[in-house]
Amino acid sequence: MNTIHTKWYLLAVALCVFLAVSSMVMAQEKPVLRTIVFQGWARTPSLQKQVAEYEKLTGVKVEIEEVPFAQLHEKMILDFASQGGSYDFVAPLTDWFTELVRGKYIAPIDDFIKKDPPEEWPNAFPPALLKLQSKDGKLYGLPTHDGPIMLYYRKDLFDDSKEKEAFKKQYGYELVPPATWSQFLDMAKFFNRPDMNLNGTVTAAKQGGQQLAYDFFLMLWSYGGNIFDEKWHPIFNSQAGIDGLQFYVDLRNKWGVTPKASTTYDETENGPIYLDSRVALMWHWSHIAAWSEMEDRSKIIGKNGYTVFPVSDLKISHTTLDIYWFWAISSASKNQEEAYKLVKWLCNKKNDKEAAQMGTIACRLSTFKDPEILKQFPFYESIEKALAAETKTTPQIPEYAQVDDLIGIACSKVIAGEKTAKEALDEAAQQVEEIMKKAGYYKE
């Protein structure tokens, strides 16, 4: 009897000890950091490799959820808005920054930086890559994958002496990379040889795609216009907007220098066409410059040239569009400090460079100047200059998604020939004004 009691007693003690020890172990266990990225992101391969290293290094566990690109934005906002707390850190696009800040979904990182600054802080990143995730003097994240728009051209074609000669004979001036739209058009027409499987240029004009509204902004700026005035009234239906859009539409409808199918292309589809050596010149995000030098993606290794985005008139200064991805820390996270440490680590010199070698556009000044990088991807040389020059971005307002959509529809209608540029832009401007009014921008 007694012995049985003792047995049970011992067992109970053992159990208690076991529970106590295991709960202590649990308590000491490193936190789990969760994030969400989209499937096929250029940063994902390097991210996975680096996260695995980090886990080994620190014992922190990192969980990466992958969703389709189109759903990244909505899943992120849904989770934040329903206080799901599923993500400790996220990688949003700068387009979404104001939404996230207004919703108080992401936290400023200034205090963390003060305590534990990233390598070479504050001169680690070009100022242009810290600007778009800052608000009211607070910084909300570190940049990770960048993409100013550049103009690309086929160096082999532009340097060919026969082509040079023929071009000069036909147009009366030298064949050099275009600085203005009229030169761009001349050259696109000159190289447009559909029977030889070569297009002058290729645009990505699909409604509902990422690029159409961006392209309109680029045209608008290059004609000297602006999207909003200082009081947030839409002014993109100015003459600059109309002319810019008309030029853009004419590339397809009047001159036929971009394929008729370009209305079905998103930026994901026109890039590969250039890399497949079927286009003479085009504008696109910076990754095209990197990818054109990568064997598994490109048939034009060593043949890609790049220059600044053209303007309508040389009196207007060259502008480009910049939008980038950045790491931000969720306000709802219980492990903000750990999340910051990981983000800092992902953005350190070694990892930034490694990411560049694996197909992203790096963000650190040190990577821009790294001899190894410059050897493989010579365009990094000019990226700092491009960023230091005038880069503009999409309107930093939470209503941007809607504005983007409306402008895309307007452009699509003009391309389809249903409306003139003026009609479509006037209509879109009126709708945008309505949205801004409802959102309370015009209260004095």
């Binding site: 919703g103 699909k206 409604q207 209305t263 079905t264 699509s412």
Partner: protein
């Protein structure tokens, strides 16, 4: 009596209740919630609680030309899809009703399209529709027909989307109608043949009236599903070009998950629900009469 003790757990009448409870719990809460949202202005991205606006969303809806246009597109899509699928399904069911080996195999093959995931399948159609390296224009080229920019011009975009839906769901209509015809008593047809009725007469006066219940069922299901069409269009065109393929579901989705304007999205989805329910009730009434 092996099962008599089950009596304690309920009566046969009660066997419907697990389902009713399940549906109540899972669907009524969201519906009430949505209804609440239709009366509010609520954006997910401004960190403010929903603001009561009464029927403001409904008023905005009636003034929203984009809503009317998408309604028009939805109706066009639904009418075409349902009509063509009914006719094709009927014709196929009539022509493949014999029990030869060949026809049996054809029947099996015809069922395949409805089993393929719409999202993946639409992507494959997008690949085939590609004006440059797509196979469709390539084949048309052989027939000396100039290919179209299928998904890139407003005029062919809606028909192109309709075609995908017809391709995928005609098999379903075919299956229902074929089963219906197979269930008809064979002596009716024999009698008709003895009376010397022509093929068309047999169809018009015997097959058609007898299969009307099946037709109505197919019609109802296809109507409900095509009116809320989302996956296919979202993948193929996202509503473009020039908004030519923006159906109500696509518009609702954009308002809800791109603009995060939840109140207005709820209002739009309620309108879809009301239209489908109302129209379905008419079908069910018709069915009762038939």
């Amino acid at each position: 009596m092996a099962f008599s003790r089950h009596r304690r757990f309920g009566t046969p009448q009660g066997m419907v209740f697990p389902s009713v409870f399940f549906i109540l719990i899972v669907s009524v809460y969201p519906l009430v919630y949505s209804l609440y949202m239709t009366l509010h202005d609520w954006s997910l991205t401004n960190a403010q609680p929903p603001m009561f606006v009464g029927i403001g969303n409904f008023i905005a809806l009636f003034q929203d030309s984009r809503f009317w246009y998408s309604l028009r597109t939805t109706v066009l899509f639904t009418v075409w899809v349902v009509m063509v699928e009914m006719i094709l399904g009927m014709v196929l069911a009539l022509s493949i009703s014999r029990n030869t080996r060949f026809q049996q195999i054809c029947r099996s093959i015809l069922l395949i399209p409805m089993m393929i995931t719409p999202v993946v399948l639409s992507l494959m159609w997008k690949y085939m529709y590609n004006p440059e390296y797509g196979i469709i224009n390539y084949l048309l080229h052989f027939l000396r027909i100039e290919g179209l920019i299928w998904l890139g011009e407003p005029a062919p975009a809606l028909p192109a989307v309709i075609l995908v839906d017809i391709w995928q769901w005609t098999p379903f209509v075919f299956l229902l109608l074929f089963s219906g015809i197979a269930s008809l008593p064979p002596d009716v047809f024999e009698a008709a043949q003895v009376d010397g009725a022509s093929g068309f007469q047999t169809f018009r006066y015997i097959t058609l009236p007898l299969t009307i219940p099946f037709l109505l069922v197919a019609l109802l299901i296809r109507f409900m599903d095509s009116f809320r069409i989302f996956d296919t269009i979202y993948v193929l065109t996202k509503g473009g070009p020039a908004n030519a393929t923006e159906t109500l579901s696509i518009y609702t989705y954009k308002v809800g998950f791109n603009y995060f304007n939840m109140g207005y999205a709820a209002t739009l989805s309620y309108i879809i629900l009301v239209i489908i329910t109302f129209a379905s009730q008419q079908f069910v009434k018709l069915e009762g009469k038939a």
